[in-house]
Amino acid sequence: MTTARVLSKNSFSLLAPGGSLLILVLLPGTTSAHRLDEYLQATRVDIARDRVNIDVDLTPGVSIARQVAAWIDVNANGEISPAESLAYATQVLESVSVSVDGSAVPLYLVAAEAPPIADMSLGVGTMRVRASANISSTRSGRHSVSIINTHHPETSVYLANALVPTDKVIQIREQRRSEDQHSLTIEYAIGLPIWPRVAWLLTAVTLLVGMWWMRHRLDRLENAETPAV
């Protein structure tokens, strides 16, 4: 993914009900690998207090690129239109189920980026799908997010990872995966930020020390005022 990620003149955006939907057609992108007969699906999960953001990068290898291109370029004109990109991204998301604390939550598409078919034919074109799901419960304590990706499992290789949350209140406790990584469960905790806790602790310690000091002073004063026998 290291070539110029410059938006082409074909780039545009459109609004979808319920939120903004950005569809981008990119100039050539590349992948970290140069695959042959595998469909690499790399998922990254970013957990925030009120939502979970999911990025899925889909890279078909050279040998299956034509097949995957046909799934996306449905009118077979050799170009992936924004509408085709959107339709395929929607298909991908229909194969991805998300649950939060054991309850299924709907996933909505945020952005879709399609590579040129020429790149795909070289095994280096990556389709990028970004989606989000809302999390209703933001109370402190333990929570879990589960993601299951069943998009074309017959040829796919999966990577699935939680990103370190940017919100320091959220701590990832555990990640559990299926052996092929098509499913991932992330256990996490929402806690009080560390500094309020430290501040509370320091305040308590200061009060205790202050009380001890005052008691000590009072004892000394009392002793000083008591006449020697």
């Binding site: 993914m1 110029a4 590349t30 970290s32 140069h34 042959l36 020429a118 990584q181």
Partner: protein, 361 residues
């Protein structure tokens, strides 16, 4: 007095913990003047047109988008191609690289490049690129960087670029790369950093002049040595119960920090910790000694917060992936598509890729 101590001590620990992530680095004072001098000597061999081609603004997209593991014909590198240089120019270009890298690091780069020459002569590998694969001709798609179309391998297909002007005071970057190689050395005053960089290999083993060459042989063998130095309880922590079939943080994944997994180095004994540091040094030590020493000191300071994760067989000679991840380092080692002869690796610093934290200062 005791109360004062009991308050100061935890605060001291807190502060020390906070600062450990960016430990005081011994300056790489010796390297920068040599690198700048070698770079300027190379520039002096070039025509005006060539100088214009090799130079990029420090804040240009070339810095982050100009490198890849992919071969020519798929990925268009900018800068000057070694195959287009005269012999003196090529020697000066390689001397610049030699000044930026350690002796062992330079040798590793040469072995990766020679491996690509072997790949060219073999007509490609079982996995990865195949020369003549669609890149321009038959598929109706224009080749991006292909010389006459298709994928091109070989030692001539490596490029050098300067992102920013070589200087001992202002930030700049030496970018050198081609198929299975990306070396990004950012120079900020006396500091030299080499993240992100991507040393890879295909073939991972070849014979040259009667000698068996394994460009990433140490990375492989030291990884297996460490996993087998762990006891069963430690292995349970280090070995992931799922397959990892590729790099997670390869090219194009700048700025992403994944949740670390595996075994904490703090649960290792001193010998195992030293083995972990030795593995990391295979990547860190590609850079010149002064820069590498500074980085190793930082990694060592953060060792208690560094993870070692393993996926796959623990028998050397079989497929396995591993990752070292600490506050200021991520290293991944990943055979590609079940091919032991095709290895990708990545070396990153989530806090300082492209010298970002140094440039900010």
């Amino acid at each position: 007095m005791n109360i004062r101590l009991s308050l100061i001590f935890p605060l001291g620990v807190l502060l020390a913990t906070g600062f450990a992530e960016r430990a005081v680095q011994p300056a790489a004072r010796a390297a920068t003047p040599q690198v700048v001098s070698a770079a300027n000597a190379f520039l002096a061999t070039l025509s005006d047109a060539e100088r214009a081609k090799v130079a990029f603004d420090f804040n240009s997209p070339q810095k982050t988008n100009g490198w890849s593991n992919l071969p020519s014909g798929i990925f268009q590198r900018n800068g000057l191609r070694l195959g287009d240089l005269t012999t003196p120019q090529r020697e000066a270009a390689m001397a610049t690289l030699g000044a930026a890298l350690s002796k062992a690091g330079y040798q590793k780069v040469i072995e990766i490049m020679e491996g690509d020459e072997v790949l060219k002569n073999r007509g490609g590998g079982r996995t990865g690129g195949r020369p003549g694969a669609p890149g321009g001709g038959g598929q109706g798609a224009p080749a991006r960087g292909g010389r006459g179309g298709g994928i091109v391998f070989g030692r001539d297909e490596y490029f050098i670029a300067f992102v920013g002007a070589p200087s001992a005071t202002t930030p700049w970057m030496l970018q050198f790369g081609g198929h299975h190689l990306a070396i990004n050395v950012t120079v900020v005053g006396s500091d030299n950093v080499m993240t992100p960089s991507l040393p890879a290999a295909q073939p991972a083993r070849y014979v040259l002049n009667g000698q068996t060459v394994r460009p990433l042989g140490n990375e492989n063998d030291k990884g297996f040595a460490l996993i087998n130095a762990l006891d069963e309880n430690q292995k349970k922590q280090a070995v992931l119960n799922y397959q990892v079939r590729d790099l997670v943080l390869g090219p194009g994944n700048d700025g992403k920090v994944i949740q670390p997994e595996g075994m904490l180095a703090s649960a290792m004994n001193a010998k195992q910790q030293q083995m972990l540091l030795d593995i990391a040094h295979e990547w860190v030590g590609i850079l010149n000694d002064a820069g590498a020493n500074a980085k190793m000191a930082e990694i060592k300071a953060n060792l208690p917060k560094t993870y070692f994760a393993w996926s796959g067989s623990t028998t050397n000679g079989e497929l396995a992936y591993y990752r070292i991840q600490g506050p200021t380092v991520v290293i991944e080692y990943a055979p590609q598509q079940g091919d032991l002869d095709h290895i990708h690796t990545i070396y990153r610093d989530p806090t300082n890729d492209y010298g970002a934290s140094l440039v900010k200062k």
